[in-house]
Symmetry: D2
Subunit: 339 residues, 4 copies
């Protein structure tokens, strides 16, 4: 039985901003006040820091929402390069937008209040306040069709998993800033559980619809279930950071369940809410009933726009870790991927 | 140039509830007031009615969020049976939960405020305020493994699309109330663009992990892109009703784009919002810039819980159509699916 | 200790819509499925029905958000007239918009996607998708200034409560459809805890800024605290229906606390959420810690747009009560207001 | 006519976090990416900076939501002291919670997942994840009753405005960290348009219900309309920062309208959305139709939790202004308040 005095232990310490502060100095003040979103954000930083300092933990990043075109491309590529993320599970679209820049295309700062029909006539696609010119998609489509041909030729009827597919893409893209490229070079798995639901699907249509196509790219819809489950099984501990939710969040959670493990660490950044029953807004408490997340797991949901929240978390944690921090992911140390 | 008097044409007519009202009588009052959610909801009913009365329109239902376990299973099965929906695009999970009931399992009314660790110990899974006993999942897993074996045996190395996969399931499930069964019987396509992201994926793990497995189920990740695009191409007009958003919404919109058509009708029911850049909350105006939805399309977003909103729309439209209304979907009339 | 079998009692009964349904027939189906928003909505109908059938209960309606201009004016006036609401606590603005129609003004169906600067030049005010011409505000301002003069003259330096103020307005407005008028005629208190925050405040500015003003209208900021607390004290039971939240919700809850009672029934309709710490989104569980709502109270929050949800609740409950139902509010039976 | 090339000017520059960053260094990167919430947040910092550097601008802070108990008490007191905020418009509750700490009470870090009935039995009030012991409220009530007596005695039947009331409180509270005290000392107006809707109302009940009370505190509900409008009228330019929305936002906007000015700068931090028609979620575009905000105003809404967003804005702007920045508010320079 909790006693009254145990409940009233820690007075809120009010935030003070008297001059220049580093990101982590402000986040640590959020930890002292401990309230509402500020408390959740500071808890998320603590949890990500602990994931990284825990040598037995494999860190998953689940990625939904258009965060790559919106400015997180380098951030994610750098996290992979610096071994601060071990496995990526993403919507197809985020990786498509990485590929667009890898073939020389761009995303542009636009505006949400714009005549969409004018954009249509100008062949400019809008993602909220980002613009992408159609020709950059077309350029990528052409490149992808060639890459698909090449993958199909090399793999001779063998079905790939979505992870194999992304590595094959990374192998063929030369942009050192590309998430796909960095993932390929560091042997970091990128899973795309809904790979066809993106321009990768449209490129497949182009690839498959030509008269003279010899061999078709084969990606198996189920194969990566075996791979991601295996990673979970072999990792002593597993953690996830979720941006948005959707299929990527569900995929990581299901792998944690299928491997009979349950997640040890979980940070979810979302604007969704629980009451309408969708997965993205479901509480981390709910996942405990399934065994997807352990009851004792270190876990928090941060309610906010990931374009603000995730960079804050990364900046705070990188500041805490310091320049000398080095990390070798468990799955790489143990050569779990057999590469 | 719009003149002032053109803007001030139609005074709000206030809602009156003096006694018993049918659903459509209330919705028509919402149309007279025309404001906020009430105006959007009445517009959605008008659009769905027009889709159904337009003999050239193929109607897609995009399904995300746990609406099938939550009480919409019969509603969706009936809409398919009565030819009021022509194509379904769904998350894997919704169709999994249809299958659970098809093999004799159940969903139970539960509560959101519950000790999830107790549920865990009791082997009860929670979806917000719905409970599912683990044994019903296990029962379905066993059945699915047998079905996968059977599909693999019959298809001899041929890769299925996700649509083929759902029909193969429907063929092997005998429950006449099942969405999968009704879809199979009526030759209504169900696409699962992220099929592996659900218990269908775990059943695949069981299926593939056995020592003595002979043939593996093969579902091609990209194949259904060709099929869904073809349906769009051949349909003179296309319309969609979206519940939730996510991968299913994106899949329908991408097919509309890939077929160089653009949607003629669109109803989106969601709680997501546009500002964070995710697909589910993106406006229908934004889709116009891509050509996914036509500028002149009849379109509306309703901000609300689909478990309330969608049954209201269906009840209102069924009341309007009356008992004698009959509809033969264009894709069936023209035998577009070649069945 | 709850046993497993106790938890898995009631299978979800799926919604069936085979033909015309009354609103309550659909809501009762929501009750059978019991899930997500549908379950909450059906619970809200049950609770409002029980409030009305409980002869000891005084029913408060707390009103925030622009629901009166949006189409709820007659609905609320009728609820007051039929004695289905006993006390109203509102933002100033909702009552201002009632007054605008009472002096012959109108609200117009507009659109949210409009050039607001054009509206500005046309002297048309926008409330999301409702338009109000400035001249209707001006007409009301003129009338209000006269009414303020008259109230000041009659009350001779006496300070009014906000409830006195609304009755004085109702006395001077002849529109039988007006909320203010019906409240005055039925002696239903309308409290405006932030009365100055609305066009009533601007009219005061006009009233007070004239050179030749003799007597100033006096409304005491605190006086209605005594009145509303007294109503709570004398009512054996208290219930509230909240639209939106904000100051009106807080006012009712604080009166329940100040009277050392705690609410027995509570329905809150809102789109706000708890995590950011605001009152409007705070859970009804939280209010229990304060004693504002009883632990055993019959209570539910419905997450949705009140313009859809509240008319559904009213239609469902009116259908249940039937034509012969009559109700005399406790506070009127006992002449609690001393009128 | 905008040309295509004008639209595609500025490629998104991806965020890079290679080591320790100050808050403003990160925000400036958000400005380069320019997308979603990150773009809005960086715009908000720019606008607040411009407000402060504009010598003709009076800066209003509108305060709703429980931000003072949650950790913003010192932040707001410091902003007032440093002349970075000129006028405060607040819910009663935020100022009540300032007073609780001024009389020696505390707010405690708690948890949102807690047995509220246990808290009730322990006489602990919960505000999401903050706990307040009832005795601290009682202590403040006693003090307030004495202060009310003293104010009533000193003012001899004169009705105060809510601004007078807060200064009278500040005069009688000795805590130099108190918002009320600092506001009193710096002659910064604090308006409470719904003053009775808070513990200030309950204290009035105690004050007025005693048998032997001689003189009653008189606060006029409308008087501050004249004062706040006058401030707007006399200020060459006006700007506002809104936390949450509700009555405080509406009050500032109405004053801007009543003074025939329109706001020149506006930052709104909220989680509310526009579609349900409430004031808090209404767009700043909508306010242009009324003339509350100028069409050319520098304005942005940031969608997020104010406990995260507002400190980020303040930290970024304080870093930009540097240690030597000094500001004398226009209303003080011109002695607009006549003090």
């Amino acid at each position: 039985m909790v006693e009254r005095k145990d409940i009233l232990q820690e007075p809120v310490k009010h935030i003070k901003i008297n001059g220049e502060l580093t990101v982590d100095q402000l986040i640590r003040q959020f930890s002292n006040s401990g309230s509402f979103g500020a408390g959740r954000l500071s808890a998320a930083c603590n949890i990500y820091e602990r994931m990284l300092r825990d040598e037995e933990c494999t860190v998953f990043l689940a990625l939904a929402g258009a965060v790559v075109p919106a400015g997180m491309r380098s951030l994610i590529a750098d996290l992979i390069r610096e071994r601060l993320i071990d496995v990526v599970v993403s919507t197809g679209a985020n990786i498509v937008h990485d590929a667009i820049e890898a073939v020389g295309g761009h995303h542009y700062k636009g505006h949400w209040k714009v005549d969409d029909y004018l954009l249509y006539k100008y062949h400019i696609y809008r993602i909220y306040d980002i613009f992408v010119p159609e020709e950059d998609f077309i350029k990528m489509d052409h490149k992808l069709v060639k890459i698909y041909d090449s993958i199909a030729a090399e793999n001779e009827g063998k079905s790939l998993s979505s992870k194999d597919f992304t590595w094959e893409l990374g192998k063929r893209l030369n942009d050192p800033e590309s998430i796909l490229r960095v993932a390929y070079e560091t042997k970091t798995p990128i899973f795309l559980p809904a790979v066809r639901d993106s321009e990768f699907g449209y490129a497949y249509l182009l690839h498959a619809s030509r008269k003279n196509v010899n061999k078709l790219l084969k990606v198996d819809a189920f194969k990566d279930v075996l791979e991601i489950t295996e990673i979970c099984k072999r990792s002593p501990k597993i953690g996830m950071i979720v941006i948005g939710g959707g299929v990527p969040r569900n995929t990581v959670q299901s792998a944690a369940l299928a491997s009979k493990k349950g997640l040890d660490y979980a940070v979810v950044i979302t604007m969704d809410r629980a009451e309408t029953g969708g997965l993205s807004g479901s509480t981390l408490a709910e996942t405990v009933s399934w065994g997807k997340v352990k009851e004792k797991a270190d876990k928090i949901m941060v309610i906010g726009d990931a374009m603000i929240i995730f960079p804050l978390i990364v900046a705070s944690v990188i500041e805490r870790l310091g320049e000398k921090f080095e990390r070798t992911p468990y799955i790489q140390r143990e050569n779990l991927l057999g590469t």
